[in-house]
């Protein structure tokens, strides 16, 4: 039995009188893919922000590989092995696609401290950048300016940048949000392949239930900041409270009523 990559205990975040995340406990094992679902305002993004260091928890502990990372700044948490993507595209728009990954790689390898090398002739980093782009299937775009590629490709580029820090834990925040159905299928397939490769541990938030059930080994259902249920996709599908609270049964009924 291996040790958990991530061990979260009693994690809580309050904004004034509002409790955005309340007493969450969670263990993530190596190489599993865990999905966090819940309606808007359930506290998923706040949860991510605490794990990645963007926000300080009010209470609770976050342990990464047995090391306490609670409240550390983002760059330290990234160094220790947590890498995340964002709901909105978060890239370097004026650089080429390849340079976007090179930035992350030079940070990771410590080349970023070199004042007098020539970045454009750093072939080791360049080859590695192309490898990551190839893994995401966007190596043909490497010379394009990042701001001109399609929305879906930008999201894939961001995943390439997330993977380039060789993370122990990858946090993807709604990786298929805003994508066309085609792009969603392509992205899901890619993440599935990366997860199956056994190199990564993923934590994913997602609104698209097809994507969630396709990718997740385990699902944490959040509702109003609290853990509603955690279990396998099968268990989640059959859980009555989850069906009502989240899987949209109420919404579907409302839609059906409206259509009458």
């Amino acid at each position: 039995m291996s040790n958990p990559v991530l061990n979260i205990a009693n994690l809580t975040k309050r904004f004034g009188g509002v409790t955005a995340v309340s007493d969450i406990n969670l263990e993530v094992m190596p190489r599993e893919t865990i999905a966090i679902i819940g309606p808007n305002g359930a506290g998923k993004t706040t949860f991510y922000n605490m794990v990645s260091g963007r926000m300080q928890p009010t209470e609770g502990r976050i342990m990464l590989d047995g090391k306490d990372i609670t409240g550390l700044p983002p760059h330290k948490i990234s160094r220790l092995g947590v890498s995340r993507s964002f709901q909105i595209n978060n890239i370097f728009p004026e650089m080429t696609v390849q340079e976007n990954v090179e930035v992350v790689l030079s940070a990771y390898h410590g080349h970023s401290r070199r004042l007098f090398n020539i970045a454009s002739r750093n072939t080791a980093i360049q080859q590695e950048a192309v490898e990551f782009l190839t893994r995401l299937g966007i190596d043909s775009l490497k010379a394009q300016r990042a701001e001109v590629i399609s929305y879906g490709d930008k999201r894939l580029l961001e995943i390439a940048m997330v993977l380039a820090t060789q993370p122990k834990l990858v946090l993807l925040d709604e990786p298929t949000a805003g994508m066309t159905p085609d792009e969603t299928r392509r992205t899901t397939r890619l993440i599935k392949k990366l997860a199956d490769s056994g190199d990564y541990t993923f934590m994913i938030t997602e609104h698209d239930m097809d994507v969630v059930f396709n990718l997740a080994d385990r699902i944490l259902v959040m509702h109003r900041g609290e853990k509603l249920f955690a279990g396998t996709p099968e268990e989640v599908k059959n859980h009555p409270e989850v069906r009502v609270a989240y899987l949209g049964e109420e919404d579907d009924e409302a839609v059906e009523e409206a259509n009458l």
Binding site: S52, P73, P74, H75, S78, R79, S83, R84, N90, I91, F92, P93, E94, M95, E99, E102, V103, V104, S106, A107, Y108, H111, S112, R113, R114, L115, F116, N117, I118, A119, S120, N122, I125, M161, T165
Partner: protein, 315 residues
């Protein structure tokens, strides 16, 4: 092909700059000396402005302390000129480390205001600490001795001083250019475009901003060390907040996106000032109109617009 033509133009410009003392009048030797020194000042500023995205309103503090340092060393110690310049750079670096340490934690307008405040404080100190700085009159009456390195140069000769400035500014520009092209420089550009992504890649953005700030301050100090013997005085005006505006205007005028932009901006600024003030007192009005037009229509500055035009025409 296009890069070759551009390199050829650059080589011609450098050859022209070397030839200035033999072909131009004394008046223009002075003008070009000023262009080079202010160009270095503006290029050092552009490392933090154009590359890293930090708008500092206090860059004159480092220029000014560099000029005072060289003046003080010449008056009290009579060291060779090169040693004076090293003292100028060191003094500016220490000041930039202190001001930067307190400023880089803030972003955008707060960073701008804090650097402005520190710049005004340094000005006030130079203005009031009479026993050292001679107050509003500034430090004058120093003479340049030897150059250093055993070179026998008559620095008092404007042509010789011009060539010394050209050589030192060229070396400084090459060092700055290499920094811009390095992996470190790439991170600075990334910080301008998206600081949050850089910190999530595992880098402490504040440290990188501070290092860039200190490098920029150090080279501004070098420019200050060059200007004091040229003006024959180190005065509080060199530290005034309006002096901090000059590199901003020059960088925008020439183009912040290109390494040589600030030098072109400095040339345009100094030449226009020289020519326009012979016709009218209201040079600032003309400069204001030109800058407004540049910002509205030619956001990339003179050099950026010229290069864009060249790339279009020669397609």
């Amino acid at each position: 092909m296009k890069t070759k033509v551009l390199m050829a133009i650059l080589a011609l410009v450098i050859a022209g700059l070397i030839a200035v003392p033999w072909v131009a009048s004394y008046f223009y030797i002075f003008i070009f000396t000023e262009i080079l020194i202010l160009g270095l000042f503006a290029a050092s500023f552009n490392l933090i402005f154009g590359y890293t995205g930090m708008l500092s309103f206090g860059h004159a503090a480092f220029f000014g302390i560099g000029s005072y340092a060289t003046a003080l060393v010449l008056i009290h110690l009579e060291w060779p000129f090169l040693a004076c310049l090293l003292v100028s750079m060191g003094a500016a670096a220490v000041l930039a480390l202190v001001i930067g340490f307190l400023s880089v934690r803030l972003n955008e307008v707060y960073f701008a205001m804090l650097t402005l405040a520190f710049g005004m404080m340094v000005f006030a100190i130079a203005y009031q600490w009479r026993s050292v700085t001679n107050g509003s009159d500034g430090l004058a009456g120093f003479t340049l001795g030897s150059f250093g390195l055993g070179l026998d140069l008559t620095l008092a000769n404007p042509s010789v001083y011009y060539h010394v400035v050209l050589g030192i500014v060229a070396i400084a520009a090459i060092v700055l250019y290499l920094i811009c092209r390095s992996s470190f420089g790439m991170i600075l550009k990334a910080i301008r475009q998206n600081p949050e992504r850089v910190s999530f890649a595992g880098l402490n953005v504040r440290t990188y901003r501070l290092v860039a700030f200190v490098i920029a301050g150090t080279f501004a100090g070098l420019a200050g060390g060059l200007i004091a013997p040229f003006l024959r005085v180190a005065s509080p005006e060199l530290l005034h907040w309006s002096m901090s505006a000059e590199p901003i205007l020059m960088a925008i005028l020439g183009g912040t996106g290109f390494f040589l932009g600030p030098f072109i901006g400095s040339a345009a600024f100094v030449l226009l000032e020289t020519w326009i003030t012979t016709y009218t007192e209201s040079w600032m009005l003309v400069l204001g109109i030109i800058l407004a037009l540049m910002v509205i229509f030619f956001r990339k500055g003179l050099l950026g617009t010229a290069i864009d035009w060249w790339m279009e025409v020669k397609k």
